[in-house]
Symmetry: none
Subunit: 256 residues, 2 copies
Amino acid sequence: MRSDIPPNHPRFISLQTRAHLVDGFQRGLVASEGLIAHGRGEAFDYLMGEQTSKFSFSAIEAACSCLLIAKRPVVSVNGNFAALCSTEIVKLSNLIPARIEINLFHRSSERERLINQELENKGAKNCLGSFSNESAIVPGLTSSRKFVHSNGIYMADVIMLAMEDGDRTQALVDMGKKVIALDINPMSRTAKTADITIVDNVIRVMPIMINTITALKREKGIDYLKNTINQFGNRRNLANSLKAIVNGLEKQSNSE
Amino acid sequence: MRSDIPPNHPRFISLQTRAHLVDGFQRGLVASEGLIAHGRGEAFDYLMGEQTSKFSFSAIEAACSCLLIAKRPVVSVNGNFAALCSTEIVKLSNLIPARIEINLFHRSSERERLINQELENKGAKNCLGSFSNESAIVPGLTSSRKFVHSNGIYMADVIMLAMEDGDRTQALVDMGKKVIALDINPMSRTAKTADITIVDNVIRVMPIMINTITALKREKGIDYLKNTINQFGNRRNLANSLKAIVNGLEKQSNSE
């Protein structure tokens, strides 16, 4: 992995994250389409000032409450998510606890195998995926994108997913699943379709989620969790996140 | 090339373009950095509503006028531009007529060779590049990024470039070249440094340029071309393009 980024570079974390992703690409975890998707994310993160907003913190608390209340929570993992956050994914899923399902948009059994290995290296056990030959079909999706695991996403009541395609998010919501999305674009179909959207960079979100879940489990009861979920409104959350981007651009526009 | 994108997907063209670029990457035309850069471009296109603005049409007319008036126009081609627009690059350069120079930021002679082959397959003849052993040096640039062709960019009066690095654009302007930039980020250094910046997606720009050049050659005289160039102001163009992004976002923001 590249280590020649000076730590005092103003965009050090962003460049380091990019290097992590390219490393994941070279190790076969990330699809080439995943590099492009990451570039898109970089642009949105840049427009947001590369920091976690207060709206994101609220969405994270609602998401963590939802995951703790869930009966069959599943964390859906794709190549980019695994390349950037494998340690945190395993930690979070152990804390909740939730099953991990490897669920790729650009499906390849080799890539699934490598992602599974990566997660197992970080301590994951029994990750689900189409490699385990227990596939069920998500209604409304065509091609190989419709396959999920019969004991994982198919049976889940709450699914947390990151950087997911709009069609697939919609199909899961149509199945009656409660969907938590990590998506840095507040206008994406996934962001709008999900029940709770965390409009933020997964790199910053995952450690905060781990701390939040830990604190909620230790300090709060079921009523607090339910109340947190009830008070959260995703439309308002998305509108506020979008306003943060607009304000940043207006500042640029006025300085021209 | 991948053909499993459903044509009814709401972002079909963007996904198809992405697949074209990945295809170019697999064929060795595009650098892995080019994939991430494309993703950043996608985000800006998304913010613009993935359509050509009236400001873009004005910039295109000024750019075409400038290319027709030029004495030694050169179209500079990098990996992403070749992967997405090789047919249109050849058509446009034949129409003007202009020389094509392959000029890479992440230089590799193998990639240059493949891009040259790709352009020749589309009908290009005598493309310039550092493979032709006639290199000159752009003052102010270090490393292999400083090399251009002595009969191409080095001697050109007007250079059209796409998705170019800010340092290199600045160096060409400092040499007294008139620079036309295709750059979808109106805040980039290239966008701000160029004489005429077309703030738009190359996929949409190139066919419009071909039609515009054809119409201008058939219908308009030198006075019309000069007048079009004189009436164009790039600072106003960039400010308007940025406002178009902000307005689009505000509309989205208010409709939430």
